[in-house]
């Protein structure tokens, strides 16, 4: 099953896919996907993200192998749903998308072994975790000014339950900007795969239901500009649309 969270007719609803571009709300109403506001499919507890977790992307940014996974955290302010706007600040010279498989933890996990890691997964969704490279500094890099900006992490459209995705480590990822293919990869090329990440993180801290792990992005990041439509898509998980807008939309400058 795949589940969305949407706003429609004055309330927030859980919805499932009714086919033909329609959603079935939990209360039985059926509405068209264009008629709703798509929200992030969950309200996560802790949000983890991986940097440099695909060898080709690490090379693209001229980094060698990491001694251990490069993990950073994000706050709830960063999240927006499918078809949302994301702001590119006027002073940015390089702002790029990152198409990422996002893993949702389903229950408390402490010192979980790799062989049992999938038992702790509730499901998966797509994340587009924007970065603005102009704001990088070498202190706790990448810092929150680069990676935890309001509305700079799109999530959705669906939470796909674990049972519907038997092998998350063999999924094609692709990003298009205004319809042009700019990024493609496959989750099998992750350096630290999903079971490893659950074993690693739960080895020193307790994970819990609703924790979210963004597993990193492959090569092919490119600058995006106001007016661009950015589509990040993962096979079997979903197709997440986001729109870049400028400062003017936010009444800045």
């Amino acid at each position: 099953m795949k589940i969305a969270r949407v706003a429609w007719s004055g309330a927030i609803h859980e919805a499932t896919d009714a086919g033909g571009g329609a959603l079935r709300l939990a209360d039985g109403r059926v509405v068209h996907e264009d008629a709703v506001v798509w929200l992030p499919p969950l309200r996560p507890r802790t949000i983890f993200a991986l940097g440099l977790n695909y060898a080709d992307h690490a090379r693209e940014l001229a980094f060698g192998a990491q001694a251990e996974p490069l993990v950073f955290l994000k706050g709830p302010n960063a999240l927006v749903g499918h078809r949302a706007q994301t702001r590119r600040p006027a002073d940015a010279t390089f702002m790029h998308y990152e198409c990422e498989l996002a893993v949702v933890i389903g229950r408390r996990a402490r010192r979980v072994r790799r062989s049992e890691a999938y038992d702790y997964v509730a499901g998966y969704t797509v994340a587009n975790d924007y970065a603005i490279r102009d704001y990088l500094e070498n202190w706790y890099r990448p810092n929150l000014r680069v990676k935890n900006r309001d509305g700079c992490t799109a999530l959705g459209p669906w939470l796909v339950e674990r049972a519907d995705l038997p092998d998350p480590m063999r999924l094609a990822l692709r990003t298009t900007v205004n319809g042009k293919l700019t990024q493609q990869g496959n989750t099998r090329d992750m350096i630290a795969d999903v079971p490893f990440l659950i074993e690693y993180l739960s080895g020193f801290m307790t994970l819990d239901a609703g924790d979210l792990i963004l597993t990193g992005t492959p090569a092919g990041v490119a600058d995006v500009r106001p007016g661009d439509e950015v589509v990040t898509e993962i096979e079997g998980v979903g197709r997440l649309v986001n729109y870049i807008v400028g400062d003017d939309v936010f009444g800045r400058g």
């Binding site: 507890r45 802790t46 983890f48 251990e68 490069l70 993990v71 950073f72 955290l73 994000k74 706050g75 709830p76 302010n77 960063a78 704001y135 500094e137 070498n138 202190w139 706790y140 890099r141 990448p142 810092n143 929150l144 000014r145 935890n148 900006r149 309001d150 020193f204 801290m205 307790t206 994970l207 819990d208």
Partner: protein
């Protein structure tokens, strides 16, 4: 009030930045920080007065991070410094515990984010704190004074910090911003008790316990 997301800021005491000396200009840093260097103390770290702080088996001692927490009461987005304090519910004492680590190059998840590594005391209404920029901060280990400093030494005082942070990220009611840890944070071992006092906010006390005992 229930604490929601907790953010910390690195090197916000003048002495803490000065203690790094020339290293701030050398690799891997290259330059002193320009913007506030923020980090997150996630949900599993949140803890209460009196709760044990578990010392991982492979670690000899933990660093005790005495921090003034500014707790948001009203949504703060793009707030100018002059009005920043109006967005606070109040202040609390936080113990920003970490495993001592020499490098600040990469996010410190493995060092900062262990279960229970962020005890926070009760929120004191902001009307009872006349000036958050003049508060004495003291740390005691087994009753002995181990550190003292004052929020007068913050590089970015509370209001300015809120202004700079909320320019790019919204803080919501219940979010807490830990305004920095003074230089030479004391270390403590399993079996010891640590207490942090901040003027007007009382005392936050926690025992350190070997993780094997958990």
């Amino acid at each position: 009030m229930r604490v929601r997301t907790v953010y910390g800021v690195l090197l916000n005491y003048r002495g803490a930045l000065a203690a790094l000396g020339d290293a701030v200009r050398r690799p891997p840093y290259g330059a002193p920080p320009k913007a506030p260097v923020l980090y997150i103390k996630p949900a599993n770290t949140l803890s209460a007065p009196g709760a044990p702080i578990f010392v991982p088996d492979e670690v000899e001692a933990l660093e005790i991070g005495a921090a003034l927490a500014a707790v948001i009461g009203r949504t703060a987005c793009r707030v100018p410094a002059e009005r920043a304090l109006d967005h606070l519910a109040g202040y609390a004492i936080a113990n920003d515990v970490s495993i001592p680590h020499a490098s600040y190059h990469r996010p410190p998840i493995r060092f900062n984010c262990r279960d229970g590594f962020c005890p926070i005391g009760p929120v004191v209404d902001r009307s009872r704190v006349a000036d958050p920029g003049t508060l004495g901060v003291r740390v005691f280990v087994d009753g002995a004074l181990a550190q003292q400093n004052t929020t007068a030494n913050l590089i970015r005082p509370v209001a300015r910090l809120i202004a700079e942070v909320t320019d790019f990220m919204t803080l919501s009611p219940g979010d807490a911003l830990l305004t920095g840890v003074p230089e030479h944070a004391p270390h403590a071992r399993a079996g010891q008790r640590v207490a942090i006092e901040i003027d007007g906010l009382g005392r936050l006390e926690n025992p350190l316990v070997a993780d094997g005992a958990r």
